[in-house]
Amino acid sequence: MSDFFAFLVERFPDLLKALQEHLIISITAVVLGCLAAVPLGILLAGNRSKWLHSLVFGIANIFQTIPSLALLALLIPLFGIGTKPAIIALFLYSLLPILRNTYAGFTSVDPGVIESARGMGYNKAQRLFQIQLPLAFPYIMSGIRVTTVYIISWTTLATLIGAGGLGQFIFSGMGVNKKELIFLGAVSAILLALLADFVLGIVERRVSRKVKPSQSASAV
């Protein structure tokens, strides 16, 4: 155990560098995913056309089923190697969970509540931001938290296409038969994912408290 700590201390600068690379890729992918999937989910929830619904979910589903390494490799001819294709591939992966949860959150809002809000004179924007969004928020956040944990884990593959990250310890550890390296990479990725989930949990609670659904609407 003490050997491992000595090893950790020795490799600390490398660990920091890898963490930085890993975080940049993961965070960018998830943020872009949210920016794309949340509005899309809201749009779909408010839309009647079934074909549009099937089309969008179908496409997101296809991206989801492509094996992560294959998707990374497929993007190389288009975007080269390194962080760019890694972020794009992971962004595509993040779409479905966030999209699905946003959609579920919005469709779970009782239409009766919307009707009464309309009756009370709330316009579309007010209904969206003061009623629907707060009510759907737990669902959306759950989608984001799940996605973030997945993305942090999948980012370990990005090292194979030259994007660095914590995966570098895992693969090089396999290559030189040094278990401490594999351990370092894997445990760091796990801890990072747990930390991210924890932080997002705090964010969720804070925001939930602030953005309480409009009192008059819920009184109905």
Binding site: I76, G80, I81, G82, T159, L160, I161, G162, G164, Q168, F171, S172, G173, M174, G175, V176, N177, K178, L181
Partner: protein, 295 residues
């Protein structure tokens, strides 16, 4: 009706599982991720199945030589191709300081015998690490040897495989000390990607594998190891000593490729697979027929 279907499925499933268990007459050949090794594995598969009644399963794309060696130690892989320079990768304690190709192979033979792995005579080619740049860059900066990189390296992006940065004796750290060269940025990646990466200017220099056909294909230039840092890396077949005792026929078959694969032939094999996109099996069979080792 339903019961009959379920029963049939269970029977098929258990038969499939049982056939996977039967390993008495099966040899497993492990191969790393590069083409020449996979082609050689297919060659041995063809030779062994043709000349004995053993069945052979090839397990390709094991991510590195240490993974292959570990698989052999645990009995999951019976035969493989290794490169003699692997002896410097901390598999056993080196008691001598082998320098020449023959010395390195001898040291490997002795050292690995202690791990239950028998080394055979080399195929006839080396696959060593080669610093490789685009031709224009070599011309522009006047790069012929690795030492020529000294002033330029800190401004260069280096593409490497996933393990070279960590290798203890023939890796980046030791290299830096030997040559006094450090690169500006290093990008480890799956080795197959480095050739396009340097050809497309995503990186400035890569540490390629010298028998890869893509060096010529992408008009790249290799720098000479003037300070002789890299040890020899003779490709040679290895097998688990226990398996050789159980199946002595293999001792006749494995040496069949001794000296048959020169560097040019190895590059040609790689070319067929990596550039012409043919299957390893097809290329292996073609080679064996041409060499008169197979009908």
């Amino acid at each position: 009706m339903k019961k009959g279907l379920l029963g049939t499925m269970m029977l098929v499933l258990s038969l499939a599982l049982l056939s996977a268990c039967g390993s008495a007459n099966k040899i497993v050949i492990g191969a790393q991720t590069y083409s020449e090794v996979k082609v050689i594995a297919e060659m041995y598969k063809a030779l062994i199945e043709d000349r004995t009644d053993l069945k052979v399963q090839v397990k390709p794309d094991l991510s590195s030589s240490p993974v292959v060696i570990n698989a052999m130690k645990s009995g999951e892989v019976d035969m493989a191709t290794l490169y003699s320079g692997e002896i410097f990768n901390n598999h056993f304690e080196l008691k001598t300081e082998p320098k020449t190709r023959e010395e390195v192979v001898e040291a490997g033979r002795e050292g690995f015998a202690g791990l239950g792995i028998t080394w055979f005579e080399p195929y006839g080619f080396e696959n060593t690490y080669a610093f490789t740049v685009r031709k224009e860059v070599a011309d522009q900066l006047g790069l012929k040897t690795i030492s020529d990189l000294k002033e330029h390296a800190k401004n260069m992006k280096l593409g490497v495989d996933t393990t070279w940065l960590e290798r203890p004796n023939d890796g980046y750290k030791a290299f830096s000390q030997h040559y006094g060269i450090e690169f500006g940025q290093t990008f480890p990646m799956e080795i197959g990607l480095v050739y396009e990466a340097v050809a497309n200017k995503e990186v400035d220099i890569v540490l390629a594998y010298s028998s890869d056909a893509r060096i010529k294909e992408f008009n790249l230039v290799t720098l000479t190891d003037d300070k002789q840092f890299f040890p020899p890396y003779d490709a040679l077949p290895v097998a688990r000593t226990k398996v050789l005792e159980e199946h002595p026929e293999l001792k006749e078959i494995i040496p069949l490729l001794h000296g048959k694969i020169t560097l040019d032939k190895a590059i040609a094999l790689n070319y067929e697979v990596d550039v012409n996109k043919r299957s390893e099996r097809e290329v292996a069979l073609e080679f064996l027929r041409k060499e008169g080792l197979l009908e």
